[in-house]
């Protein structure tokens, strides 16, 4: 969506330039499309939060196993990053790289999509690390079994 905003802004700017648009009109179009790109970024971050929410529930049984088998946090994180949570991370990074390539070809700023993808991947990885560390260091029973005394 960031790329679409950027490219559409780029095409629109080129089009109105061909019709002798003023510098102010061109700047206005660029400002609007930058706003659209920022909105797309916000949507991307919302998507990131949704992924984290989904991954958390899938992770808990896995972390219970790693805790019960005495796996160190580094090994557990390596296993997790090599599995399902890495899919959205890889997708975000791939989309960012692809968008940056298109931007570069069109002479646009490639840092925008790259920064967004890196922020997404970084926040997910950071959150995963914190979650794994907290789960493996927990003294009480794992979530979901605390109330189970049977």
């Amino acid at each position: 969506m960031v790329l679409i905003s950027q490219v559409s802004g780029h095409l629109l700017t080129q089009a109105i330039t061909a019709y002798d648009a003023t510098a102010a009109q061109t700047a206005a179009v660029r400002s609007e499309t930058t706003g659209l790109a920022l909105s797309a970024s916000a949507l991307g971050l919302a998507f990131s939060a949704a992924v984290i929410f989904t991954v958390r529930d899938r992770l808990d049984p896995e972390l219970r196993t790693y805790r019960a088998t005495g796996l160190p946090a580094t090994a557990a994180l390596r296993l997790i990053l090599g599995s399902h949570p890495v899919i959205p991370v890889a997708a975000a990074l791939s989309a960012g790289v692809a968008a940056a390539l298109v931007d570069a070809v069109l002479g646009l700023d490639p840092l925008f999509p790259l920064a967004l993808a890196a922020a997404f991947a970084g926040s997910l990885t950071l959150w995963l690390s914190a979650h794994v560390l907290r789960a493996l260091a927990r003294q009480a029973p794992d979530r979901g079994s605390a109330g189970r005394v049977g």
């Binding site: 088998t69 796996l71 079994s145 005394v149 049977g150």
Partner: protein, 283 residues
């Protein structure tokens, strides 16, 4: 509150008996003085009763505080399981079986009292020692299997060996041996989603024993299985005791299991009501 290990405690044979308790296992608790010694010292002296104890619960009390009330999961539970024995912890839902096994696995800790596995008191373990304890001393088998869904059978069984300082070929051999032992040879590359319930529990058993733990803890291992598959899982657990001298503690409400174990500890409402049979003592 932590109590020092007490003197040898008597084997309780009083109270209502369970007539079908496994009377064939005259060799129960056969490995006295061998195997489970978590302390580094080895004097060569005859083993004391304390040294032959694999798991000891001493006045274990556990309460959970919720927003509305304080729930008592265990209330002054004291008993010990001897090395090499297969002991069932029996009681209705909510009686505290799972909490007790979590304590032995050092996944939970008593509010008061102490839990000792071999010479190790679980409450006294630091972070690294706790990880080592969970990895090397106990093997846990869950009712819900808790297999990692994105790992193959081989990968799941390999998990406990990941932190071990062993050559990769040795780890691989151990994993393949464990998989073969539970009868899943040829299915190493399958994902959990491609296995039946009985096979999933077999993988869980293989993962529980691949690290050669001294104590195997099984929480309702037959709870999600039909009677035939459940009996096969019990066979595997008994083999761990008979062939490898492991101590096996099984939380269950499946009375058929009681015919095959050495001893039984009965829990009711978080209290130990009685113990029966060999390899289990109360104090």
């Amino acid at each position: 509150m932590v109590r020092a290990p007490s003197a040898p405690e008597r084997v309780v044979r009083s109270g209502p008996s369970f007539p079908n308790l496994n009377s064939q296992r005259r060799d129960a608790c056969p490995s006295l003085g061998q195997g489970l010694d978590l302390s580094s010292a080895s004097s060569g002296a005859p083993p004391s009763a304390a040294a032959t104890t694999a798991v000891a619960f001493r006045s274990v009390t556990k309460t959970y505080a919720t927003s509305y009330e304080t729930v008592s999961a265990l209330d002054s539970v004291s008993f010990a399981v001897e090395r090499g024995g297969v002991v069932a912890v029996v009681g209705p839902s909510g009686s505290g079986k799972t909490t007790l096994l979590n304590m032995a696995a050092a996944l939970d800790f008593p509010t008061s009292g102490s839990v000792r596995v071999g010479a190790t008191e679980t409450s006294g373990l630091g972070r690294d020692a706790l990880q080592r304890f969970r990895n090397e001393v106990v093997g846990v088998i869950f009712q819900q299997f808790f297999l990692v869904d994105h790992l193959t059978v081989f990968g799941n069984v390999m998990v406990p060996l990941i932190p071990r300082d062993l050559p990769a070929p040795e780890k691989e051999k151990r994993v393949l041996d464990a998989i073969a032992k539970v009868g899943l040879r040829g299915k190493e590359r399958r994902l959990p989603s491609e296995l039946s319930g009985g096979e999933l529990q077999r993988v869980a058993v293989a993962r529980g024993v691949v690290g050669d733990p001294q104590v195997v803890l099984a929480d309702e291992p037959t709870g999600n299985l039909d009677s035939k598959k459940g009996a096969e899982i019990v066979d595997l657990l008994l083999a761990e005791s008979r062939e490898r001298g492991k101590t096996v503690l099984i939380a269950t409400h499946d009375l058929r299991i009681l015919e095959r174990v050495d001893g039984v500890a009965f829990l009711e409402d978080g209290r130990l009501s009685r113990v029966q049979g060999r390899c289990v003592q109360t104090g």
